[in-house]
Symmetry: C2
Subunit: 150 residues, 2 copies
């Protein structure tokens, strides 16, 4: 989003969007969640302009969604990790995923599936495992490629 504020909204939806509603923010979070932790990985994966990526990363760090951790010194290099606050955005991603699967038609079925690590069952938009019925947390699920075209 632009200017990232929605003045006078007194609404948690608007408040959330102020933080993660800007263009790219949620996709960066998705990428980090899927294990892309470095600047160039994310940049290449998204095709986002580098200056914009810098800005987004800094803002996500400021707002406590991402964390920067050095993985080498001289030259100092960092990786980005999700904090608890960031991981808690998983439900938002899952909601978008389910909606996109339903309405953003793809000939070949959903591009990615979310499965329960323990039992392999598919996870639905409520983050409930369709096989074992467990209510899942981010850490108990993973994203795998969807069915490939026949």
């Amino acid at each position: 989003m632009l200017y990232h504020d929605y003045p006078g909204q007194e609404c948690s939806i608007a408040a959330s969007l102020e933080v993660v509603g800007e263009r790219w923010s949620l996709l960066i979070i998705r990428d980090v969640l899927r294990g892309k932790r470095r600047f160039d990985q994310i940049q290449t994966s998204l095709g986002i302009a580098r200056n914009v990526l810098t800005k987004r990363l800094n803002r996500l760090i400021e707002t406590g969604i991402l964390e920067r951790r050095p993985y080498q010194t001289s030259p100092e290099r960092f990786e980005y990790f999700l904090t608890e606050k960031g991981l808690d955005l998983w439900p938002v991603l899952m909601a978008y995923l389910e909606w996109g699967d339903k309405y953003c038609e793809s000939e070949t079925g959903p591009p990615r599936l979310i499965v329960h690590k323990d039992c392999g069952g598919e996870v639905d938009g409520r983050r409930i495992c369709q096989k074992c019925g467990a209510h899942l947390d981010v850490r108990e699920a993973e994203s795998i490629p969807g069915p490939t075209p026949a």
Copy 2:
């Protein structure tokens, strides 16, 4: 978002964001869901620029999320309603709401509560009624003002 496209992403999250990820879109949907159906109502409620609102409404109509229905002729006036596709975005709103309630601190508790119309129980981020355990649909829930400061 800007330019509203995320080329080459093959991901339902990105696909969804292309449609509803632009600034204001989700808040317009929230407003319509809460019964604001007319241009000026939405414009006043959000404080969005009128030309931008026009653009967003048209795009939401094009993408099948909103529907325009005349409520009078000469001069013709329209109201905006959510289609099924639009109503199905409720989980996304609920996910943002829950996250915002948790992290976008408010002194006085959550600004709005979502309750199950039938039993009055609170609804959680999984859209499950905390009182009766039912898995809810948009139409079975409503948004009410949160607890007022003591």
